[in-house]
Symmetry: D3
Amino acid sequence: MPDTADLPEDLRNVILGVQERTGFVPNVFLALSHRPDELRAFLAYHDALMERDGGLTKADREMVVVATSANNDCQYCVVAHGAILRIRARDPMVADQVAINYHKADITDRQKAMLDFALTVADDSRSISDGDFEVLRSHGFDDDDIWDIAGISSLFGMSNRMANFLSMRPNDEFYAMGR
Amino acid sequence: MPDTADLPEDLRNVILGVQERTGFVPNVFLALSHRPDELRAFLAYHDALMERDGGLTKADREMVVVATSANNDCQYCVVAHGAILRIRARDPMVADQVAINYHKADITDRQKAMLDFALTVADDSRSISDGDFEVLRSHGFDDDDIWDIAGISSLFGMSNRMANFLSMRPNDEFYAMGR
Amino acid sequence: MPDTADLPEDLRNVILGVQERTGFVPNVFLALSHRPDELRAFLAYHDALMERDGGLTKADREMVVVATSANNDCQYCVVAHGAILRIRARDPMVADQVAINYHKADITDRQKAMLDFALTVADDSRSISDGDFEVLRSHGFDDDDIWDIAGISSLFGMSNRMANFLSMRPNDEFYAMGR
Amino acid sequence: MPDTADLPEDLRNVILGVQERTGFVPNVFLALSHRPDELRAFLAYHDALMERDGGLTKADREMVVVATSANNDCQYCVVAHGAILRIRARDPMVADQVAINYHKADITDRQKAMLDFALTVADDSRSISDGDFEVLRSHGFDDDDIWDIAGISSLFGMSNRMANFLSMRPNDEFYAMGR
Amino acid sequence: MPDTADLPEDLRNVILGVQERTGFVPNVFLALSHRPDELRAFLAYHDALMERDGGLTKADREMVVVATSANNDCQYCVVAHGAILRIRARDPMVADQVAINYHKADITDRQKAMLDFALTVADDSRSISDGDFEVLRSHGFDDDDIWDIAGISSLFGMSNRMANFLSMRPNDEFYAMGR
Amino acid sequence: MPDTADLPEDLRNVILGVQERTGFVPNVFLALSHRPDELRAFLAYHDALMERDGGLTKADREMVVVATSANNDCQYCVVAHGAILRIRARDPMVADQVAINYHKADITDRQKAMLDFALTVADDSRSISDGDFEVLRSHGFDDDDIWDIAGISSLFGMSNRMANFLSMRPNDEFYAMGR
């Protein structure tokens, strides 16, 4: 992995900021910093979707990440975002439940509908139709919420594949965070 | 769930013994005790495979359980046996890694071959052939070890399905054990 | 295969009893007797599910076995239990029909619902939900019947995998029985 | 089903010929005779592939039909051609074995290679490459034999789908023939 | 590929007729003419289904061919019949849309129902049931139309597999026809 | 779709530049401009991967896009990038061939290895291992080339899903470009 000292200043500052808040540098920053332009684009896309206001809480967004990443068999993303989900949801068990089988998780029907759609995006986007949108609207999701679910599932579909390609390991700190 | 007071004496004694050693009664005992004969048979089969001596360590056996149960999307078995694997392997991270994607886990090549075969049993037993056995033997597994891998994958293939059928929940205690 | 003379007395007696009733020793007894404890547990589990009274007839139970075993590509179980199904159902054709494609078999809608659920247990237990139970109840199955269907599909999911692992052959006698 | 009396004379003669040799009229003739031109074309294609001389015996050809039809879940074709296979191979057990799981059937390695290719044609023709042909040639199949295997698997891929569409039932006579 | 001069006279005349109308000899005629009897049978079957009168227009029939052939990954059939579909439908874009993802194509709901059924025939004929027929009838298809859809999907299921087996290339002329 | 007049100036300038070079505004710019931050991030990621120098030509990069997008059933991406591939490769037929079945396309073995890996990233990233990299290196791809293939497949995995979610239509101009 590259040393942060060799990174462009803007990325180094981002990473130092994360380190200050979290206490460590998540490996994804180092693994992707081999290509600074791609890392910048990924971070911009990530923040645009994950830090928006709207009908999805931050815990909801992380739940979409965990369910999608588990579906895509991504060790880094399930472990790291599982930790964030535990913290955001203030629930030490929900992340493991969603990762293993969200159908049996202790979550609301609205959240199950959200995850059903996230996995349709992940596994069968060819068939997305008005019927899918009607189900989501019946749970109170508006058009921007639906875009958020589709966007997060699509974005992490990308990073899950890159993390698997790079055999990216989660930092040890993530495993126990929020338990 | 049935009350342990209503169980036949032999099962009640088994359950009290587990409770004494572990500090709580794993939900699987209560969920399956609705059918005492089936619970007895399951426990007998379980102990015959999981407590045998042989070329597989107890951690290896639990690793087969976790990989198979994750493949079969079983919340109870991944969480409960993930805890046991962490304890047996004295490794707080291996269970999550094996559950999410054992190909990327920090385990030995011998263990990867063991899990490859366990998942062939789970997903494609129709095609098992001498070629599979040769790979296993090249990693030092003998005929009884191979039977153990096949048996554990098959047995948990059964209990994974029953746990999903019953929407069995892991006890809260399991999530943090061994981390 | 082991000789019955070398078996523990209880298993030898079981096998001699089967031989007396049937005229031959089904190969499954010999193949699994390499591990007497596992064979005892399997037989106990089998009898607990297959010889129960309840809303499923013995022919229904065998039909679940045949459909599940065909789904799991198990030569031994389809041929041996196909014979038993022909006898129990007093129908020389139903076993082949159920094994090839139960959707097109000459069976009742209630039996099709039973087999739909058995195969959901076999192939997609992660998604079992109240909707599945409602369909079954609408055909008159009660909670214990539903447990029986799930249990038989799960148990034979296990023995199908073991029979494939062992390349277990059906006795020649089974092929023509009940035709 | 149409009455044979209403059929064009050429088809009526074909059917009467089959009836004379076999003792009954296989249902496929009646089911497809709703469209005489299609039935004629199917029979012509069938005979061109199934009655050719070459490196495949008649039993081999029927074995390809049974394995392909089982893969495609076609009740009519597995039962009817299973009967013909038993007769051609003078073996009462081979048809059930091939239908359930040809990997575990009592057939030669050459026949397994033949069926591997037939199922590649059925399930993954997009990827057929020189590597497939080399395997077949190493078992002594020449180019015309390979065409025959591909052609039979393709032709029955068509008739399996039509038989499923029409819910075509095998005549009762087929079930026990050749056992 | 064989020279047309070596073909039986009837097939040579068919081919010369096509060449006269189209300006070139489509490769499928030459590729299959290695087996004249099979080519004759294929042409007879093709014409019986593709040149029938009935509720399906010629463009509808070609649309079934293109959707089925794309599903079966057949280069020859998608390119050649895509050209014919563009001409029959007088639409330069519909063939590419149907080939890539007919769910998102600019076609009618009736045509989508037709293609849904064609792909059920192609991928899951085992489960065809009255429910499928009711949907088709609600769009105005009668029994002969439904047979046509099933027949075309089945017939091209055969020729798609043969074209993949033969690595059949479309003539260069097809790519730009009708655009 | 939003009017370009309402877009932030930087995006309006990008779009006007494309329009100047191409003669029209590709629909993807308008469809995604509903979320300017996401569009900026996507364009930055796209350019970082598609306009890099390295061992992959621009035609190679577009070929990865077309094969991945066809695998993911994305109408917009196959039609639009198919046009670009035809132009970059100066070949009117390669895009259709790659979209339908790249195994049978007129491309080099090196390009087939490139597409094999792109689709492994798309469909089975969990199992990517050193074996995949060795195959690629044997065709002369270096580590940065391999990253490019993985990155392009992952990025378009994201945009394919968004395009399907939005039912994005390709501009009519793309269908005939470069033929």
